[in-house]
Symmetry: C2
């Protein structure tokens, strides 16, 4: 048995998320179907984590095992030839059997993309969330520093999450400028809770709109109470930027 690491890019728009579900179009479903067609055997892929419906990935990582003899470059080319145009495999690499795309994750980085304008902008619509032009992005950036370090993020988790351990470490969090007047809230951590980035961004928007002070983010973390944080912002503007391993 050989283990292979896949790096996947996908546009989340037309997917019901990463995880396979019956009668739904999912990233996992499409990739497994393509692998099964090429390898002529049942294949299961394991990703660094699921992404929700509409969430995109620049570089999601997954692994799979196969008994078949696989040439990395040929498999990469064949997969890209048969995968739908909203998924690409940017790398196929043979890895040690101890590598686990989910459990060996060291750091993940997400971007929540947005822009500040009174009107929807044609070149950003569908890719970034519009927030009103009275938002102060520098205040949002100031609030980011209160996220750094190890915290219990219970205030920033969807209530339906089945988790009981809400402690995560955030290594970096800041507002970055992208092209065409777009910004992103970029956050790197050892892991993220269900809807965590989208809820944190909903809270940062309140800071931007001066409804709460930047330092209030610290109090919201300390409260461990979902009702103190902001709304869960829409999924389409969230991008899994990269996944780093030990």
């Amino acid at each position: 048995m050989e283990r292979f690491k896949l790096v996947l890019q996908y546009d989340g728009k037309d997917f019901c998320g990463f995880q396979i579900q019956p009668n739904k179009r999912t990233v996992q479903g499409e990739v497994e179907k393509a692998l099964e067609f090429l390898l002529k055997e049942k294949v299961k892929i394991y990703a660094s984590g699921r992404t929700d419906a509409e969430v995109s990935a620049l570089a999601q990582v997954a692994h799979f095992d196969t008994e078949k003899c696989v040439d990395e470059k040929k498999l990469e080319a064949s997969l890209n030839a048969i995968l739908p145009e909203d998924i690409a495999v940017t790398s196929v690499q043979k890895v040690d059997n101890s590598f686990d795309a989910r459990f060996s994750v060291k750091r993940k980085t997400y971007q929540y993309r947005f822009y500040v304008s009174r009107y929807e902008l044609p070149l950003l619509r569908g890719r970034a969330l519009r927030i009103n032009d009275y938002a102060d992005v520098s205040l949002m950036n100031k609030a980011c520093k209160f996220l750094l370090g190890e915290h219990d993020f219970k205030s920033f988790v969807a209530r339906k999450s089945g988790k009981t351990d809400f402690v995560r470490t955030i290594y970096d969090a800041k507002i970055v400028e992208l092209d065409d007047g777009m910004f992103a809230f970029e956050i790197t951590g050892n892991g993220f809770l269900y809807n965590m980035v989208r809820i944190i961004f909903g809270t940062l928007i309140q800071v931007g709109y001066k409804k709460i002070e930047p330092s209030k983010v610290k109090d919201i973390i300390d409260a461990k109470d979902r009702t103190k944080a902001g709304k869960t912002m829409p999924a389409f503007a969230l991008v899994l930027k990269n996944v780093e391993y030990l």
Copy 2:
């Protein structure tokens, strides 16, 4: 009579170009229709220049004259409320009658967007041209310096152009890195000939693929012969980035 300057952003994908044409969907047609609806009078807009079918603009500039009493902010809001989602007006500003969106142009900047990959990438497809991964972007950047200054660009104009004066001045030309692994050939000049940026980029690709040396660009300019330059690259990856005035 008052003159107003409009700044327009549009996604060129579903337009048959800027210039109005009967029975075709054009940017000018949509903006004039919206202005006529709001101002209750026939309005003609004059842009910094046409853009071809599929070409996008981050900040195209146009002017129009009206006898009506217009509030800049109200007109901006009303226009954005009724324009289709692939056009936005990012600014409406009353200007002196001597301002002419076409004839007062000092500099224009275009970006030709591309990426280097063996496969189409889901997050860049439709927005940037894919070129093969053996292209050397640093050679393309080296070739850019031969474009700088005042030259006769007859080698880089579509043969059907009716122009006879091919002399233009290029102030800046370089390869820049954008987000998500995208690059752009960014060029600033006092004006551009028909298809000029797309033909120059077709020539730079030959440099990237090592079919010609970077310095060959100088010889191609000197030849004043369209057949010496590269192919006209597709329109969809071209963006009018901004227009500067005296």
